[in-house]
């Protein structure tokens, strides 16, 4: 007994203790609390519901039978499908573009990267002016390209979600570019030399060598992009306030509405749990599949 205890080295545990304590306190505990709260009906702005009453899965049933919440889920999916793949592809293309030794390349790298440095709220405010009908930069440019459709981007129910997607892509692609750029610069040169000797053309080199070699980078960026698309809502506040008629309301925005606008603690806890489940499922899947590939 004593012997086995002695063999337990305390140092590693001491070293991870601060992190573990942090995670427990600021991640695990709030999640557990949310799970608990999601089984209760509690609304701060109704005197009789201020004290929580147990309703079992009532909050979840309410949410999933509410056509409006289903709409929010659809919006969220559309937002993710709209932002994640395109900003990753653009990030990759940008990285290919600026991964060369040309004088002044730093300027172009900066140009692609700078949206990331801006706070989302400032970026959205700038875009609010770009989106202005008539003279807004975005609309003027589109008109030059022959666009004749509606220009009221943030006020049109069919375009509002698209407009927040556009801002997110603009904001994120430069960020993903940096990861790809780092990946590209770490690629072994000999492989390319061998390919050149074998007479591979540019497309083959890109598709058969560069892209597969960057697989891990792509995986990493996909995770980040996916999580990002769930947690950025700042620009929605500025651009559309979730409207018009809630057409650009996504899950996190809805969570904010339920908790702070409607003061519905039970429903907001339930949405938090749904949120955590989705992110956890995604992360675990990724973890497992990437592990298998390593093996």
């Amino acid at each position: 007994m004593q012997a086995s205890r002695k063999s337990l080295k305390p140092l590693p545990y001491i070293l991870i203790f601060p992190t573990a304590a942090f995670v427990a306190l600021f991640t695990a505990w709030p999640v557990l609390l949310s799970i608990y709260q999601s089984f209760f009906r509690q609304r701060m702005n109704i005197a009789k519901f201020r004290e929580p009453t147990f309703v079992g899965l009532g909050n979840y049933v309410d949410l999933f039978t509410d056509p409006y919440f289903i709409e929010v889920i659809k919006n969220t999916l559309a937002y993710i499908l709209g932002t994640v793949p395109i900003s990753i592809i653009l990030g990759f293309l940008f990285a290919l573009l600026v991964n060369r030794k040309v004088r002044g390349i730093g300027f172009f790298r900066l140009a692609f990267f700078h949206p990331m440095v801006l706070p989302m709220v400032s970026a959205a405010t700038i875009w609010l002016f770009f989106f202005t009908p008539d003279y807004g930069l975005f609309n003027s440019t589109l008109r030059l390209l022959g666009y004749t459709g509606p220009e009221n981007w943030t006020g049109n129910p069919n375009l509002a979600l698209l407009s927040v997607v556009i801002v997110a892509i603009w904001k994120n692609s430069g960020y993903y570019m940096v990861f790809y750029l780092a990946g590209l610069q770490n690629l072994p040169i000999d492989v390319y030399e061998a390919a050149a000797l074998d007479g591979a053309n540019g497309w083959q080199t890109l598709w058969r060598i560069t892209f597969p070699l960057l697989r891990r980078t792509t995986l990493f960026i996909t995770i980040i992009a996916f999580i990002d698309s769930f947690r950025t809502v700042d620009h929605i506040f500025v651009l559309t306030s979730g409207g018009p008629s809630r057409s650009s309301t996504v899950l996190l925005f809805e969570l904010w509405l339920e908790r702070f606008e409607y003061q519905d603690i039970g429903a907001s806890a339930a949405i938090t749990v749904i949120f955590v489940i989705i992110l956890l499922a995604f992360t675990v899947t990724n973890f497992i599949t990437s592990d298998r590939r390593e093996a």
Binding site: M44, N45, I46, A47, K48, F49, R50, T125, L128, F129, F131, T132, P133, D134, Y135, S140, R143, N152, T154, G155, N156, P157, L239, T240, S241, G243, P244, S245, R246, L257, F260, E261, Y262, Q263
Partner: protein, 460 residues
Amino acid sequence: MKKKMLYKIFAVVLVLGLLLGACAPAPAEEPVQEEAAPVEEEAPVEDTAEEEEEAVMEPVTFQVFYPVAVDAPIAAILNGYIEDFQAEYPYITVEPVFSGGYGDVQTAIQTTIDGGGEPPALGVMLATALYDLINADYIAPMDGYVAGMEDGDAYVADFLPAFLANSYYDDQLWSIPFQRSAVVMYYNTDMFAAAGLESPTSWQSWAEAAQALTVQEGDATNWGLQFPSGWPYWLFQPLAIGNGQNILNDDCTVVFDDPAVIEAVQFYNDLSAVYGAMPAGVQSAWPTAATDFASGSTAMVVHTSGSLTGILAQAEFEVGVMAMPGKEAGTSASVPGGGNFYIMKGAPQEKQDAAWKFVEFISQPEYVADYSINTGYIANRASAYETEAMLAYVADVPQALATRDALQFAGAELTTQNLGQVRGIFHDYIQRAFNGEMTPADAMAAAQVEADAALADFCP
């Protein structure tokens, strides 16, 4: 080397910042301080009371959470007032905490209270937050303090009545008006004169003027009117009021499906569909609408009185300000907005008491006038308009009086139980009507049904 340089730049910026911070409040204090002193003196308190006050001069520090919602150096102005206040009450220290927008202040206070912490004694939150704050048991009534004043009734009666409309519940006073505004219509008098038009007096003449002033310029349109509707209830309300029916009766009854309200929605749509005088559908660009007007590319804009200072600073033409025209000739309408002072129940009593002293101090006419002049908010007390500073300002900027005068036509701002949800429902459907997804009648009928359901739990 580079690092050193960076540090140097940083240090310079820091010093500049400090200097600016130190200088900025000075001009704001000056005019007020002289006049503020006699007010305190003029209250000749009985000896016993004064002794009592001195006896309880335990040092007390309280926080005030405030938002910045207009384009003005609110922080510097408030710091100036706080210095004056602390000079008069040396035992009280006020810690101003800038907390973002109105929503952020309320969120910060809610999360503090829900997390078991001590809330700030004082908060500036939307006047319309009243019921949510009462129901959540966050705020304390102020009647006791008013009763304890030399002449409490006169103090309260001096506030412009429209601004007190959202302060009472259950016959108790829950908030004191602070930074208040109103919906007004700005119009370019130069354009009106050039087109030989009078300022509008009815829906009809308003729409016709907007139509006449809409000009196509190449690809772009210079609109006769912009009427933002991205967060529509507030600017829309004067349309309904101007047609004789506000969208609410009391905290439990909303009136969305009344024919007069539906007609107001229809009129909004007609302004673009029939008259071609403003952009079609939901107009979500609140900030650009004001700058478009100030730059002269839009002849009229419906906006907050809070934009007056910014518009006047930018505009190179004579800016007209008026209440929104009502439907019938000669009628007008407006609706108040903005934030009030609330005292938080969860703060220790002595902090609440100190907070009240600050509220009382800052609502002296000289301060109310100074705040209005420096921020563009409407001075919220009748007596503020008698002060020298305000008289001088109004002589210079007569539009400031027009914003106050718009308030005589004001109805109550949408304030109900369960406000967030009710307002969300209204926004949802009125925007569907604006965007042509539903007819005004269908949209308002559906909004009524949903809002009634959302209110059912609150209103037995």
